[in-house]
């Protein structure tokens, strides 16, 4: 008996979002099949891999990471170097210094740093919030203003602060935003509906459905991403159709496996390798669940995941 394929395609598809300045923009989303079901129908755009940098610079205690960023000292140099990582589709900036629980850098200064990074980057830029709704509400509109013409994605518009961020970033300054909710399909949907009600059109926002490292309650996240994707495709629920961006790096590098030293746990091997493996395993699972883009910190992770994606689509 010959094998007769029965392709499972959907009448609806994930919305396309393009970001980055004219001529250097990338597009993702657009697919009408489940993640990597390339055998059902061609995947419209491959999932993207972002490389994350922080205004505080890379962790130079990690030998390979230090070697990669060797000689890159200013934030501009670090940004430019990150863009050379094989497999990186976009640059992701975390403005750690602006965190009110840390250095609490003024928003104007942080926005100026974002501008510096955007100018030094040949890749499209995504800016992550500082995980503080009040600070993000002040910071992200300033970043949006500073990045005029860069068509960047500004993450972390949450239910508490989406209005100002959405209107300032998208309407006033022509950027894209990420609608962030805490691992819950209904909250994700509600936020998307609210953002749409501000007059923000599809194609101008992505979803950030939450983050977690593999093994740390990750099943919850994976199942949420999966259910969002299935509802978006099988029920044509357009409030769940923006592409999903999952920042993996922050969680992957802050769990025990990536933090404890080799001296304390010699049998676990070098710390850097463990962090890379946390990033790779988490990112691979996110992509399999339905993330349309992941953000990683280590160039080795970026290269591996980019290769995985290239093999599967």
């Amino acid at each position: 008996m010959t094998f007769k394929p029965d392709p499972q395609t959907f009448a609806s598809s994930i919305k396309e979002v393009s970001f980055g300045p004219e001529g250097a923009a990338v597009t993702f989303g657009g697919s009408n099949v489940l993640p990597f079901y390339a055998f059902d129908a061609p995947i419209a755009h491959k999932p993207l891999v972002g490389i994350e940098i922080s205004d505080k610079g890379p962790d130079r205690e990690l030998p390979a990471l230090a070697a990669f960023y060797d000689g890159a000292n200013t934030l501009s140099e670090i940004a430019a170097r990150a863009c050379t990582a094989p497999g990186a589709d976009f640059l992701s900036l975390k403005l750690e210094g602006a965190d009110p629980n840390g250095d609490n850098m003024p928003s104007d200064e942080a926005a100026a740093l974002a501008k510096e990074v955007a100018d030094a980057s040949v890749l499209p830029l995504l800016v992550q919030g500082v995980d503080n709704v009040d600070k993000d509400a002040e910071l992200l509109p300033k970043v949006a203003e500073a990045l005029q013409g860069k068509n960047a994605i500004l993450m972390s518009a949450k239910e508490e602060n989406y209005k100002g961020i959405a209107v300032a970033a998208v309407t006033a300054y022509g950027q894209k935003i990420g609608a962030e909710s805490a691992v819950d399909i209904n909250l994700a949907k509600q936020l998307n509906v609210l953002i749409a009600q501000m007059g923000i059109q599809q194609g101008n926002y992505v979803m950030h459905l939450g983050n977690s490292a593999a093994g740390y309650g990750f099943e919850y996240l994976a199942s949420t991403i999966e259910r969002v994707k299935i509802a978006a495709l099988s029920q044509n629920d357009d409030a769940l159709q923006p592409p999903a961006v999952t920042p993996v790096a922050g969680d992957a590098w802050s769990v025990k496996e990536s933090l404890v030293s080799e001296a304390d746990f010699p049998e676990w091997g070098p710390r850097e390798q463990r962090g890379i493996e946390m990033e790779i395993s988490t990112a691979a699972a996110c992509l399999a669940s339905g993330s349309d883009a992941v953000i990683l910190r280590h160039p080795s992770s970026v290269e591996t995941i980019a290769k995985l994606i290239a093999e599967l689509v």
Binding site: E145, G164, T171, N186, L187, S223, R227, A231, S234, D237
Partner: protein
């Protein structure tokens, strides 16, 4: 009297004449090719661009554009002509201003703000769009006194309203050394009425930037300014024809004008208002433009947070004990007409706390009167029930009970910190206005402590409670047009959906149909959505095609069909928060109900947690169903299987709780007196055989009913 239309036309002619002169002078001085641009804008002369699509860049270009603008000055006796003339006036005014900027990039040399840059448009536009700034006012003219000028400006400032000043009021504010500028949200635009062009330019650019309104699209522009830009105008007497002509343009954009000038002024409701008492400009204006202010803080001398909700004020710490059960007391929400309410008015009738000896016990009455276009009487009990949470959140204040059995204790510490009765009013006002802002526009609070008042008002309150209870009784599944769903629990039970009907409240017991309705109205994107019930499949079992469609969508494809009145056919799922579980007892052909609080075993051989493990998680298990306590006495309880006559066992405490209502239902449906006496409990039997003997002895109706499966 001169007609309002004619005043507009005469004023327009004046403005056009002034513009003509300005342009002629500029042409003479600079020539037609001289560049002409407002600083820091990509929108040329925004009023010309917005109304006529013209991109004016030179003085000659302005001359041309102005010639076209003359066709907007239409002296016809109809509203659309007057409105168009009003827009024309703004173009004429912009021409006057543009000529100044052609001669100097900073014609006001810092004395006045003049033109607003695009950056300022964006900076102010964002909070206007998001409603963080609830609106803006343009004040023109000379206030009756310098002091009043400052009062009105500060009054708007404290309400978060952005203030644009034109004319003499600027000098008045300066004499009183009022701090002005963009950051403090008070902008001295200019000394003359034609500087209004800068404010209109701001509005037109905001519409293009934030509303994506295309130049030349009058329809879209009008829509946008009316719905999205919450602006209004205050003008002090005397109001000249010139100012009236600008007012016509403002009104055309949906911005009401409020003045104290009666001469030749023709009031139009919600549009052109005469308020002789200038100190009432603010209130009149906000109401005319439907601006609701966001209440963010509760103005009381003690801390206010949900952390204090469970705080108990003990007797020795009690400064005053309002003891509802012993003295006449009540709490009540009533809906009035908007004009009957003075917003934020808080009145105390009777002695305040500091007029009483320490430790005094007496009664109290809390009456909140609300008004709102979207307010419904059905919301009154929903607000009222939350008084408990609102009042409890104040540190050192304890509230228990509801309706006429409330008790409020205020601690010595709270008293010493300055807490008085009016602060109870502040709490209720702030919480009602912030939590229910989508339906309440105005609110005032009255607090009573005199025994005579309380006796009389408690009787009135009781009449209201009775009326509400009667309404609840008439509220049946058949008497309403829609049901509501509730997906509040999907965060942990992803495929569960409750369908809430008047006769079947949510299984958690916390969401009645009225609650769900209120939740939906207050938060249209929230967890409770309307479920229509138009295409009936089976009214006995409770199946509707549209209910099923909703369940399919809101369970994200997990549930295809739900019956509302059956435990056997596609019973409603449970998240896990159910107050009670009902399960089949095969021997007696009936059902056992067990509530969460009951720790013992049931005649099914299972405890509550064991039964819960079969019922929760959003799966349909025929023969088992989670539900709220109050569903037990509903006529829709297991209606498909014969109703509450199937109940053979309940824990004693639960039986006592539902006895009166359940007995009434059994009397009505089956003509059985004292039905609950026929139902077993843990003191009678925990074993099915013993239970059977008891049921047989009592002649329980379930024994005679048809088998359930």
């Amino acid at each position: 009297m001169k007609k309002l239309f004619n005043r507009v036309f005469d004023g327009a002619d004046e403005m056009y004449a002034l513009a003509e002169k300005s342009i002629a002078e500029a042409l003479d001085e600079l020539g037609p090719d001289a560049p002409l641009a407002m600083p820091n804008t990509a929108y040329y002369l925004a009023n010309y661009l917005s109304y006529t699509k013209r991109q004016v860049t030179t003085i000659g270009g302005l001359k041309e554009a102005f010639e076209e603008a003359k066709s907007w000055n239409i002296h016809e006796d109809n509203t659309s002509a007057v409105f168009k003339t009003g827009f024309g006036v703004f173009m004429a005014a912009e021409a006057i201003e543009a000529c100044k900027y052609a001669k100097s990039p900073d014609p006001y040399e810092g004395n006045y703000h003049g033109h607003l840059s695009d950056a300022e448009v964006r900076e102010l536009g964002v909070p206007l769009v998001t409603n963080d700034i609830p609106g803006f006012v343009v004040i023109y003219g000379k206030a009756p006194s310098d002091e009043e000028a400052v009062d009105i400006i500060k009054g708007y400032q404290t309400r978060g309203i952005f203030v644009f000043l034109l004319g003499e009021i600027i000098e008045q504010a300066r004499r009183r050394e009022l701090n002005m500028g963009f950051p403090v949200r008070v902008v001295a635009v200019g000394p003359d009425i034609w500087q209004v062009a800068h404010i209109i330019s701001f509005v037109n650019r905001a519409a293009m930037i934030f509303g994506a309104v295309q130049p030349g699209d009058r329809w879209d522009l009008d829509e946008y300014t009316f719905w999205r830009i919450h602006a209004f105008v205050n003008v002090y007497e005397p109001v000249s024809d010139l100012v009236v002509s600008c007012g016509a343009g403002a009104i055309a954009m949906g911005f009401p004008v409020i003045t104290d000038d009666e001469n030749d002024m023709w009031p139009v409701p919600k549009t052109l208002l005469i308020q002789k008492d200038t100190t009432n400009f603010i209130e009149t204006s906000l109401e005319a433009r439907d601006i609701k202010l966001k209440i963010t803080n509760v103005d009381i001398p003690v801390a206010f947070a949900s952390a204090f909700e469970g705080e108990i004020v003990r007797k020795p710490d009690t400064r005053v004990d309002y003891d509802g059960p012993r003295f006449d007391s009540f709490e009540l929400v009533r809906t009035l007409e908007a004009h009957e309410i003075e917003d934020h008015k808080i009145e105390v009738f009777g002695p305040d706390i500091d007029e009483l000896p320490a430790g005094e016990k007496l009664g109290i009455g809390l009456l909140a009167e609300v008004a709102g276009k979207n307010m419904q009487k059905d919301f009154e009990p929903v607000f009222e029930r939350n008084f408990h949470y609102f009042v409890n959140c104040a540190e050192g204040v304890m509230h228990t009970g509801q309706r006429d059995i409330i008790r409020i204790r205020i601690s010595n510490a709270a008293f010493d910190a300055g807490f008085r009765l009016k602060h109870l009013g502040e709490i209720l006002y702030a919480k009602i206005m912030s939590e229910y802002d989508t339906v309440v526009d105005k609110c005032q609070v009255k607090i009573y402590t005199k025994p005579d008042d309380l006796k009389r008002l408690r009787a009135e309150a009781n009449a209201v409670y009775d009326e509400r209870d009667a309404r609840l009784k008439t509220l049946t599944d058949e008497s309403v047009d829609v049901f509501y769903n509730c997906i509040l629990c999907q965060s942990f039970s992803p495929s569960h959906v409750c369908i809430v009907t008047p006769e079947r409240l949510g299984l958690c017991g916390a969401v009645s149909w009225l609650d769900a309705k209120a939740t939906n109205q207050l938060n249209p994107q929230g967890p409770c959505q309307v479920v229509t019930r138009e295409r009936v499949i089976d009214p006995e079992i409770g199946i509707w095609e549209d209910v099923n469609e909703n369940v399919l969508a809101s369970s994200h494809g997990n549930l295809e069909s739900v019956s509302l009145y059956s435990i056997m056919v596609d019973p409603m799922t449970s998240c896990g928060c159910f107050e009670c579980i009902c399960g089949i007892e095969p021997l007696s052909n009936g059902v056992v109900i067990v509530n969460r609080e009951h720790i013992g075993i049931t005649p099914l051989g299972m405890t509550f947690p064991e039964m819960a493990s079969m019922t929760g998680g959003g799966v349909q298990t025929p023969g088992f169903m989670g539900h709220g306590k109050h569903f037990i006495a509903s006529k829709k309880f297991m209606k498909a299987e014969g109703g509450s006559a199937r109940i053979v066992w309940m824990p004693k405490a639960l039986k006592e709780l539902v006895a009166s209502k359940l007995n009434a239902t059994a009397k009505e449906l089956y003509d059985i007196d004292g039905f609950t006496d026929m139902i077993g409990d843990e003191t009678i039997a925990e074993d099915p055989e013993v239970l059977m003997e008891f049921l047989a002895e009592k002649g329980h109706p379930a024994l005679e009913m048809e088998p359930m499966f």
